[in-house]
């Protein structure tokens, strides 16, 4: 019980190191999520509204990427961006930038694969409307994405959950450097191995709180969806 009490004390004392770690975690994950959405949603829109050679193969690739082990992503990025690697000259290893890249690689397949399923269903349903009113491709995608906004938000929040809970890739590429690349999950791993269980537990509590908040938001979105989606 002492560990729990110490953990809560640490959180309530507004420890600057602790909040620096939480802030960096949120910054890295939110940036990765933002970029993943900006890239993934238009790609999903195009995939769901057009047919082209190789589409199924690419979708199968993204589906397979959803199960990609984060540690492996970290390893590949490490090889590419280490000093002896082909992109070593960029000097981004052990920086938040590479952590964002790692998270993008992990969550973008989720955003694309899940969004395509949501959008394809609505797009097929709206095909008659689009043909009747001779709607161009850009407006078709805009309409489909807009009308799918509620289920898409659920999909985006799932991506955020995945990003926040990820540890394998960012510990390799970020290096868990204090005041620089240390985030919640990597700190939990480190502090546990050091025996500093109250610090690890306090971060665990915050992480669980964020996860519960995300799930609560997903649940609220579903309730709102029923009320305002005009479905």
């Amino acid at each position: 019980m002492g560990i729990f009490a110490d953990s809560f004390k640490l959180i309530l004392s507004l420890d600057t190191d602790l909040f620096e770690i939480i802030w960096l975690s949120l910054k890295v994950s939110m940036t990765a999520l933002g970029i993943s959405c900006a890239l993934g949603l238009p790609i999903a829109g195009i995939f769901s509204s057009t047919n082209f050679y190789g589409k199924k193969t690419i979708l199968m690739f993204f589906n397979a990427m959803m199960a990609l082990p984060p540690v492996f992503v970290g390893l590949i990025l490490y090889i590419i961006f280490s000093q002896t690697g082909p992109m070593g000259f960029l000097n981004i290893l052990y920086t938040p930038t590479i952590m964002v890249i790692a998270q993008i690689i992990i969550i973008i397949p989720i955003i694309i694969s899940v969004s395509v399923e949501i959008l394809e269903h609505i797009f097929q349903e709206y095909k008659d409307i689009f043909e009747t009113f001779e709607v161009d491709l850009i407006h078709r995608i805009k309409t489909t994405v807009y009308d799918a906004r509620i289920p898409l938000i659920t999909c985006i929040l799932t991506g955020l959950g995945r990003a926040l809970s990820e540890v394998g890739a960012i510990i390799i590429v970020g290096g868990n450097i204090i005041h620089h690349t240390r985030v919640m999950t990597t700190t939990i791993a480190l502090e546990t191995s050091k025996g500093n269980l109250s610090m690890a537990m306090s971060l665990g509590i915050v992480l669980i709180f964020i996860s519960i908040s995300i799930n609560f938001m997903v649940m609220m979105m579903k309730i709102i969806a029923k009320k305002y989606s005009y479905d």
């Binding site: 709206y126 008659d128 409307i129 709607v135 309409t143 005009y230």
Partner: protein, 233 residues
Amino acid sequence: MIDNRTRMLIKNLNYKVNQETFFENLSINFLPHGISVILGPNGAGKSLITKILKGIIKPEGIEVSVTINNMKPEIGYLSQNIVFLRRNVFNNLAYPMQIRGLSKKIISERVNFLLNHFDFTKSKDISARNLSKGNKQYLSFIRALVNDPKVLILDEPTSNLDMNYTKKIETYLLTKKKNTKIIMVTHDLFQAKRLADEIVFMNNGKLVEISKTKSFLKSSNKLVKKFLNGSLF
């Protein structure tokens, strides 16, 4: 105004359904004005004709000409497959104008005018997808009019409607036909008699007869007679 440069025709239509020839060298030259009603038993190809006229289905090597004064007109189309966006009634009616980039003011005026004209204002904030089957069809008819079309192609516009809505639509069509070409499919012979200036009778993908309504009702064609007697389904 519709003048002699107006053409509503399908020429040399060959079309396969499930690998089998359905339309073979079919040509239909519709009356350039008034209401043309396509009649025929189930599976005659009536709905397919409306889709081809609208341009939703584009078979190769045929000539489809829907022109008014030598120009491609705005075509309002009502399909049997009624689908609405996940939006309220007002926004479903606004959508065809929104995608054309019309101003909010114009859109609002047009939608409110139509809702008012068809006594549907009280439903404007309701989800279009939650309307009854009849109301959906009625709304779908109104939606076909939002861009002020010069040609209206309607596939069974009143099949699920009560007398009140049917009458409203028929009255509207009879007024509108003065400056709009209307082609509609119906199974209701009485409706055809009330509305049609010309009847196009089809059976099994073939044009059996095309004539003015009065002539059609006195037709000596065996299939037409059978249909009029109610023994051709």
